[in-house]
């Protein structure tokens, strides 16, 4: 089972056992991880599932699509190089992921 490590802005961490094929956003929402809203359900239209993806995990994903890139310009907390929309980060078998949740989401 792929694990997702969610780090809150205050440094507290929660580890969730995810399911391959699910997203980092849906895994968070289903397990009540604070700070990830995901109001559009993954349709790339709300920018409320913003996370900072750990540097060592970036190799597992392609660069953001044009639509994701557009929405990353709309996030409440500042965009950084590591910024991703967590609805676009899909879990794979054998790959653990580490994300930090920004101060503000919506």
């Amino acid at each position: 089972m792929p694990k997702v490590f969610y780090v809150q802005p205050d440094g507290t961490e929660r580890v969730i056992d995810g399911v391959a094929g699910d997203s980092v956003m849906s895994t968070a929402v289903r397990n009540g991880v604070a700070g990830i809203v995901g109001q559009c359900g993954g349709s790339l239209s709300c920018a409320t599932c913003h996370v900072y993806l750990a540097a060592e995990d970036q190799q597992h994903f392609d660069a953001p699509s044009e639509d994701e890139d557009d929405m990353l310009d709309c996030t409440a907390s500042d965009r950084e190089d590591s910024s991703r929309l967590s609805c676009q980060l899909i879990l794979s078998e054998g790959v653990d992921l580490h994300v930090t949740i920004p101060d503000e989401q919506a």
Binding site: G32, C40, C74
Partner: protein, 416 residues
């Protein structure tokens, strides 16, 4: 479903799980909602208008439906079938983004959402705080009492939306008068509504034309000058967007500001929690006000209500229940917000509630476009009011217009 079903709670108390249900005290309504969602994911009911619809009670089932692209609104938009609902939907609403499906919905939404994005809204917060304080200054200057609806709750969203759309300051009084015609709280005679709406349409058309020639940094300019041919919008497309922002942005926000203030005044223990650290508690308090809806305000609450419905394009099974092709389905927000599986202790009004998966602003493709703006306005309105006037209290009974679908508070007398 039969209207006489019952269910037992852990204490073996029999709870009536028929739905919809007539007005009962709020704690009984919550108990019924808990029992209904424990028993079944949805109920099929016949609406006053437009026939049958499945009403979803469970929070997770609602999310499944709202994020499933097999549920669409085309048959409502084209008039192929009536919208099953409590009232008739005005035709102009059916021509808005709310009734569109992808791919056209995606195109419209993309054009608007950047202007109301979390980032843009964060930049608007300072001016919202400033304006809220101007309104409070004016209330205080007049004496020690006010009708919070007119003097505060309606004015703030109107100002914010005028800024967003790009209505020039000198036109604001006219714009406010015309827009008020769309407000449930205004309670205006029908012929006046029509005249004001016509004037608002003409004004917006002229403003769009001007922004096409002289673009500025506002939403109407963005829409009138969309970047390329694929994205370009006609006036006929821009007007409904502006109109739905006005309807949704003024009325609902004003209403939620009032119900928020009233919920707090009626729950002094929770108001005390807010007053301990207003800025820190305001964000969770606003979510709880959105979740709790009418429960903390009224003496009795009826079971029944809904977000705008969808139609299934094929047979779809949601939480074990098949919604057949062509059948309509909607979410009752009060029901899914009091589903004990998703919300712990749903009958408690808790302004510090952390996990609050309410669906008052919906979810999925059609989630509230103005959600970040609505949240910010509510947070600012409630924080500034109680910071400046911590002794605020009711100066009489609030008046609610029960004849209106949104049951707005039309008078909220307060003193300080």
């Amino acid at each position: 479903m039969s209207p006489t079903e019952t269910s037992t709670t852990p204490t073996d108390q029999v709870v009536d799980t028929s739905y919809p249900f007539a007005a009962v005290p709020p704690q009984d309504a919550v108990q019924r909602y808990v029992a209904i969602s424990a028993e079944r994911p949805m109920t099929r009911m016949t609406m006053p208008i437009g026939g049958d619809v499945w009403v979803i009670h469970r929070n997770a089932a609602a999310r499944d439906m709202l994020s499933d692209p097999r549920f669409v609104r085309k048959p409502f938009r084209t008039g192929e079938r009536a919208v099953p609902y409590f009232v008739e939907f005005p035709d102009f609403l059916k021509s808005t983004i709310q009734f569109e499906d992808p791919p056209h919905h995606t195109k419209l939404r993309k054009l608007v959402q950047k202007s109301i994005s979390p980032k843009r809204v964060r930049a608007m917060r300072e001016s919202a705080v400033e304006f809220a304080n101007e309104l409070i200054d004016a209330m205080v200057a007049k004496g020690n009492s006010a009708n919070l609806v007119n003097d505060y709750a309606v004015a703030l969203p109107i100002q914010m939306l005028s800024n967003l759309l790009g209505v020039p300051p000198e036109d604001r009084p006219k714009f406010q008068k015309w827009s008020a015609a769309t407000l449930a709280v205004a309670n205006m005679p029908e012929d006046e509504v029509v005249q004001n709406m016509t004037e608002l349409f003409m004004y917006l058309t002229a403003l769009i034309e001007d922004r096409r020639k002289n673009p500025r940094e506002d939403l109407l300019s963005d829409l009138a000058n969309a970047p390329d041919k694929d994205d370009s919008l006609t006036d006929g497309e821009i007007l409904p967007i502006a109109m739905i922002l006005i309807v949704a942005g003024f009325d609902n926000t004003a209403n939620f500001i009032c119900s928020g203030v009233l919920s707090l005044l009626k729950n002094p223990d929770q108001l005390a929690v807010l007053l301990e650290d207003v800025d820190a508690v305001a964000p969770t308090a606003v979510e709880e006000i959105l979740r709790n809806g009418r429960m903390a305000i009224y003496d009795t609450v009826a079971g029944g209500g809904g977000l705008v419905p969808f139609v299934a394009t094929e047979d779809v099974e949601i939480d074990g229940q098949v919604i057949a092709e062509g059948e309509a389905v909607l979410v009752d927000p009060a029901s899914v917000n009091h589903d004990a599986v998703a919300v712990a202790d749903p009958g408690t009004f808790d302004v510090r509630r952390k996990d609050n998966p309410h669906l008052t602003l919906s979810y999925g493709l059609h989630h509230c476009l103005g959600a970040p703006l609505a949240r910010m306005e509510m947070q600012v309105a409630i924080s500034e009011l109680f910071k400046r006037l911590p002794d605020l209290r009711l100066a009489g009974e609030a008046v609610v217009d029960d004849d209106n679908l949104t049951q707005p508070i039309t008078v909220l007398p307060v003193t300080w």
